[in-house]
């Protein structure tokens, strides 16, 4: 059932779709770069895990989702929230702890909620999102909709019982869930190869009886193609898919953390050379899907969006302390 790394179908993607993929990856990258600067300036009181280097995954998957489809994600969830439709201004404002943040300042980097656009939340705990996404799929099937549930998780979650229990339930009940593993080879500073004898995640689909597909997670076209098929299957009631995206985070696990010892500079540089955005830009021009001017236009557009978002966040109000205990319960 396991496919080899799918070779991207260069012709499959129409120009406007291709531009949209480029725009979205760039929006994530620029937003993350701003957060890095803001963190350094002390504007982010809590943790900040950036998605830099992995933008192709969230972008390629979420390009297929409707607003009523849902996403659950992890501590490294800025990119997923953005790709699912959370405005950059609300992500930045959230990390700044402002009332205008997508979680109204309650969550910060690891707790991004915006149910209005299908962003059901990121989690500071590794594992649970896999299970909750399985449950969203259960709801969608029970209520006879064609909605799709997507969960993003890291290689670090693969050895966790939640992976085993969640994927098995989705498989036996044939739920519309897409399990997207972002295999960036490390969990904080622990190498995946040191905690799993077999680091091929997609292969594991076999024991659960669902398709396992591995793609180059730095190739947005490859992710887009594979995710398109997974989403089609889920919507058509054909069941869940395990999609392994091989990628890499090029910054430290989280801002302010050192990034030495556990991996080599050569390895990091090698992956920086495979930057998903740069490489897609080159390819778009080579394939004549876009001109340099088109892309410069997009780049200026995104620069403006992020500048406005920063301004919005910076001038947003703090939450009212009096609301600190609101919404613990629905009923009183």
């Amino acid at each position: 059932m396991t496919l080899d790394i799918a070779s991207p179908e260069r012709t499959a993607i129409a120009p406007d779709a291709a531009h949209a993929l480029y725009r979205e990856m760039l929006r994530i990258r620029r937003c993350e770069e701003q957060l890095v600067r803001s963190y350094a300036q002390g504007l982010i009181p809590g943790a900040c895990h950036t998605y830099i280097g992995e933008e192709a995954v969230a972008t390629g998957v979420c390009a297929h989702l409707r607003p009523d489809d849902t996403v659950l994600s992890t501590h490294r969830g800025h990119g997923h929230a953005l790709a699912k439709g959370v405005p950059a201004r609300e992500v930045i404002a959230e990390l700044f702890g402002r009332a205008t943040g997508c979680s109204q300042g309650r969550g910060g980097s690891m707790h991004l909620f915006k149910p209005e656009v299908g962003m059901l939340g990121t989690s500071g705990i590794v594992g649970p999102s896999i299970l909750m996404a399985t449950g969203a799929g259960y709801s969608f099937k029970l209520t006879r909709t064609d909605r799709v549930s997507v969960v993003f998780f890291g290689d670090g979650a693969v050895n966790n019982g939640a992976f085993h229990e969640g994927i098995n339930m989705a498989a036996i009940w044939n739920l519309p869930v897409i399990f997207v593993c972002e295999n960036n080879m490390y969990a904080t500073e622990v190498a995946f190869a040191s905690v799993a004898r077999n680091t091929n995640v997609a292969e594991r689909g076999y024991v659960y009886g669902l398709p396992g597909i591995a793609v180059d997670g730095n190739d947005v076209a490859a992710v887009y193609t594979a995710a398109g098929e997974a989403v089609r299957r889920a919507r058509a009631g054909e069941g869940p898919t395990l999609l392994e995206c091989r990628t890499y985070r090029t910054r430290a696990h989280s801002e302010g953390m050192r990034d030495v010892g556990y991996r080599t500079k050569e390895e990091v540089d090698e992956w920086k050379r495979r930057d998903p955005i740069e490489s897609y830009r080159t390819r778009l021009i080579a394939d004549e899907l876009a001109t340099d001017d088109d892309l410069r236009g997009i780049e200026d557009e995104i620069a403006a969006v992020i500048a406005e978002a920063l301004d919005f966040a910076t001038h947003s109000p703090w939450p009212d302390a009096a609301t600190a205990t609101a919404h613990v319960y629905s009923t009183t």
Binding site: I125, G135, S139, A162, M169, Y329
Partner: protein
């Protein structure tokens, strides 16, 4: 009024709600065709089939996490743990996700999930099938904790639990499952946070939880012959906790004993005793007293198991002593 057992009353409540709301589904081990180890779902599979009566793998953490996600997305899961002991593998999901998501989403996501399981010491079930564990949930923000003691309460509180948009623990003491009581034909609901005075008295107030209610009532009966008048209060839900009923009672009696089958430290007795002191110190003619299981895991052999828990005799003695203080 018609009589029925606690289990049948609760099942009738579940059946009524499932008939009205197609988004309600039950998960658990053997709750499908089998109808539940404790007959909690008997006959429902035939009506609603596997999607709404879902037999699960033995993956408590998994299906609790799954139901948490389901509750966030428009359905209303009822998780049937059979024995509450099996909930423990799912505490990570319950504490970090289920109980927190309404708050973290500022109320934009709801969490209508009912978590039911049998509790209690007895019948040589031994340490993996005798747990109570409710203070864990009462301690943390986000949960409702319901402990019905009569068929009437079991049905009315289960219906309220299933309609609630909050996570509700619905705990059924094994010793009560086959007890019978009056249950009206007409639909009814019992709100959370309303204790019931099961017996009125003027000398000593006793708050009893779960199976201890009947034991306390028996003890009260005994003591009546000795001329000691005991008021027995069943809180029915410990989160929310109806302190007013307890305060009124102690205002009258001046003395309070909390009888709880669970362990004492940081238990519900400690919470009630402390709130009693905080809110009614001047009414207390004597310190609030607690009775609990001895502080040890639950052993199998009858003489050991019996030694662990309060009984009618020891409760009566405690009431006598408190009266004499």
């Amino acid at each position: 009024m018609r009589e029925m057992t606690y289990t049948n009353a609760a099942r009738e409540g579940l059946a009524e709600e499932m008939a009205l709301d197609p988004t309600i589904f039950v998960v658990g081990e053997g709750i499908g065709e089998r109808g539940g180890n404790f007959n909690t779902t008997l006959g429902l599979y035939e009506q609603y089939g596997p999607e709404r009566l879902r037999d699960t793998p033995i993956a408590e953490r998994g299906f609790v996490g799954m139901c948490t996600g389901a509750a966030m997305t428009g359905t209303r899961p009822v998780v049937d743990f059979m024995f509450l002991d099996f909930i423990l593998d799912a505490l990570g999901e319950l504490i970090n996700q289920t109980a927190k998501i309404q708050y973290m989403s500022s109320g934009r996501l709801k969490m209508p999930i009912t978590l039911r399981g049998c509790i209690g010491i007895g019948g040589s079930a031994a340490t993996h099938h005798s747990g109570n564990y409710y203070p864990i949930f009462a301690h943390l923000p986000g949960f409702r904790v319901v402990i019905p003691t009569t068929p009437y309460d079991a049905k009315g509180l289960l219906k309220t639990a299933i309609r609630s948009d909050d996570p509700v623990l619905f705990l059924e003491h094994k010793s009560l499952l086959n007890t019978k009581g009056a249950v009206p034909e007409e639909e009814y609901f019992i709100p959370f946070g309303e204790a019931r005075v099961r017996r009125t008295g003027s000398d000593v107030s006793v708050v009893a939880v779960a199976s201890m209610v009947n034991k306390a009532l028996e003890a009260a009966e005994k003591l009546a012959d000795e001329g000691i008048s005991v008021e027995v209060i069943d809180p029915r839900t410990i989160a929310p906790l109806d302190m007013n009923t307890i305060l009124e009672s102690v205002h009258k009696t001046g003395r309070l004993l909390v009888v709880d089958e669970d362990y004492a430290p940081c238990g519900i007795g400690a919470e009630i005793a402390t709130q009693m002191m905080e809110q009614g110190f001047d009414d207390l003619d004597a310190p609030v007293r607690r009775m609990n299981a001895a502080f040890a895991p639950v052993p199998y052999s009858q003489p050991l198991e019996t030694a662990l828990v309060p009984n009618v005799e020891t409760i009566a003695t405690a009431i006598r002593n408190l009266r004499a203080e």
